[in-house]
């Protein structure tokens, strides 16, 4: 309970400080929105040229694209502090976090809730609802609940990646840009249906880094499609849980890493 109150206080403080520069914040959000819309034009162009992608229509692909956009934007919004943990460690500022009698992970999460990421969220939501309006899907309560629960699971997955990045930064005293391969690269990967990739790659993003579990497999159920890699049709109903498990494992790694921490001094 105490943790939640503290986190709320951090969040409120972070919003206040960002809202001091309202005009600049708004422009940044607009910028993010536009950049991501431009990025989407790639998908639109290729569908315009080729008509379909392994049996997927533009609207179906846009559904996945929008979903991962929403998930990643929310995760990015929440995990700014984990992302810059490497910088905090190198500058020595991280030591202050350790001195406070509170959870280090919680303090990192509360470091900043980056409002400008909402531009990306708006773009993801825009494309997601555009796709929904063009697709005539057969909805059921189950499917709506599936979407609603895969979003937090997806956020947990990306938060897990960021946590691993922070843990590795603690161990190696560096900011680790190569983790971007999995975060930004993961978003890039999930923007297309997983079925278009080679099998090794699909297995990697299903069983090792469960990105597909939180975006692709639940989308298959909602869209009424099937996949050759996992033949069991019900997989998408439970696969999002892998995102939660992934976060759990990365938190264990984070706790271990803290015990190895050596300050940079200064």
């Amino acid at each position: 309970m105490d943790h939640i109150r503290l986190y709320g206080a951090y969040a409120a403080q972070s919003f206040k400080s960002q809202l001091e520069y309202r005009a600049s914040l708004f422009l940044q959000m607009l910028g993010q929105f536009l950049i991501n819309i431009i990025e989407f034009s790639a998908l639109w162009t290729l569908f315009d040229r080729f008509g379909n992608l392994k049996g997927w229509t533009l609207e179906e692909a846009a559904f996945c694209y929008g979903l991962v956009g929403i998930i990643f934007a929310l995760a990015d919004f929440l995990t700014r502090g984990l992302d810059i943990a490497g910088d905090l460690i190198r500058s020595g500022e991280f030591d202050r976090f350790l001195l406070r009698p509170r959870s280090v992970f919680l303090q990192l999460l509360g470091y900043e809730l980056s409002l400008k990421r909402m531009g990306r969220f708006a773009q993801g939501a825009f494309i997601f609802f555009w796709a929904l309006s063009r697709l005539s899907l057969e909805w059921s309560t189950g499917k709506i609940l599936l979407i609603l629960y895969t979003i937090p699971c997806g956020i947990a997955f990306f938060m897990g990646l960021m946590t691993i990045q922070a843990a590795l930064s603690i161990k190696s005293v560096q900011s680790l840009e190569f983790m971007n391969v999995l975060t930004y690269g993961g978003v890039q990967t999930a923007q297309y249906p997983l079925s278009i990739y080679r099998n090794l790659f699909r297995r990697f993003f299903t069983f090792a880094v469960p990105l597909g579990c939180v975006t692709y497999y639940p989308s298959l159920i909602v869209l009424g499609k099937s996949d050759s890699l996992v033949s069991w049709a019900g997989f998408g109903w439970i696969s999002p849980l892998a995102g939660l498990a992934f976060l759990g494992l990365s938190l264990m790694l984070f706790t271990r890493a803290l015990s190895w921490y050596v300050s940079t001094g200064s």
Partner: protein
């Protein structure tokens, strides 16, 4: 000319320090390139419609784009941003140099050094390592005609000059705006889209092609890449150079006009 050459040398030395960051970037780019190629491959296989270029050429285009990514004018110089904010820009004004040309060299050295750090590992990976891994169909195919290489190198050099003139002009607009992040973001999205980094330009609808060829960002990436892959025949190369030179002159003059106007406008606050 001597102070300019000295300046270029020290800039290169300091910029080439950022090797670790470059490696991380390179790994991300390999990954991005492979995703894009797998997606294109899937598109080619799912449709009977004729594509605007063969898959092997599109693959080559993607890899060249990744190799020369560092050269694109997708952002403004953070140091310039800082100088405008904290007022140290006035030291720049005190230097007995042609201000615009000096800023142009600053941009040139920046783009050149970020490019050169990435080009060689990227090209080795795309042209040599991928075939060794048995992924020959994803590899960059080198042109058989030896004449292509010198013509392409000229075009890449012109692209570098074009990028530097665009960067210089964009940097100078900082004098008018307090925060550079807005300019930077907008410039970045236009450049990545219209240079062909997001999707090779020939894939856009046919009715846009004339516009896409004549807009300035074509000469940054789309032009040189298609000369290398053979999509633009050698007979059309001089025309491509002409377009690049036109836009280089355009942005160079624009930069000079902006510099002159900016110097009049500039107000240094106290300190």
């Amino acid at each position: 000319m001597r102070p300019y050459i000295k300046f270029l040398k020290t800039r290169f030395q300091s910029l080439l320090q950022y090797r670790a960051a470059a490696w991380a970037g390179i790994v991300c780019q390999f990954f991005w390139g492979i995703i894009m190629i797998m997606a294109l491959e899937a598109f080619y296989r799912s449709s009977d419609r004729t594509a605007p270029m063969e898959l092997s050429r599109a693959v080559g285009y993607i890899w060249l784009g990744q190799a020369f990514l560092g050269m694109l004018p997708w952002n403004i110089d953070r140091d310039m941003d800082r100088m405008v904010r904290d007022g140290s820009l006035c030291y720049e004004l005190l230097k007995p140099l042609d201000l615009h040309f000096y800023w142009f060299l600053r941009a040139f050295s920046w783009r050149f050094s970020t490019m050169i750090l990435r080009v060689i590992p990227q090209l080795i990976f795309a042209a040599l390592i991928l075939p060794m891994l048995g992924l020959g169909e994803w590899a960059l195919i080198l042109p058989k005609n030896p004449l292509v290489y010198p013509l392409w190198v000229v075009s890449v050099f012109l692209a570098l000059l074009l990028s530097s003139t665009i960067t210089t002009a964009a940097n100078i607009t900082l004098i008018w705006s307090v925060s550079g992040s807005g300019t930077s973001q907008l410039l970045g999205s236009f450049v990545t889209l219209f240079s062909g980094m997001v999707v090779p330009l020939p894939f856009f609808p046919d009715r846009w092609q004339a516009f896409l060829t004549f807009q300035p960002f074509h000469g940054l990436c789309d032009g040189p890449n298609r000369i290398f892959t053979g999509d633009i025949p050698l007979s059309r190369v001089p025309g491509e150079w002409g377009l690049q030179v036109f836009w280089i002159l355009f942005f160079f003059l624009l930069g000079r006009i902006l510099t002159a106007a900016g110097q009049k406008h500039l107000a240094v606050q106290g300190g």
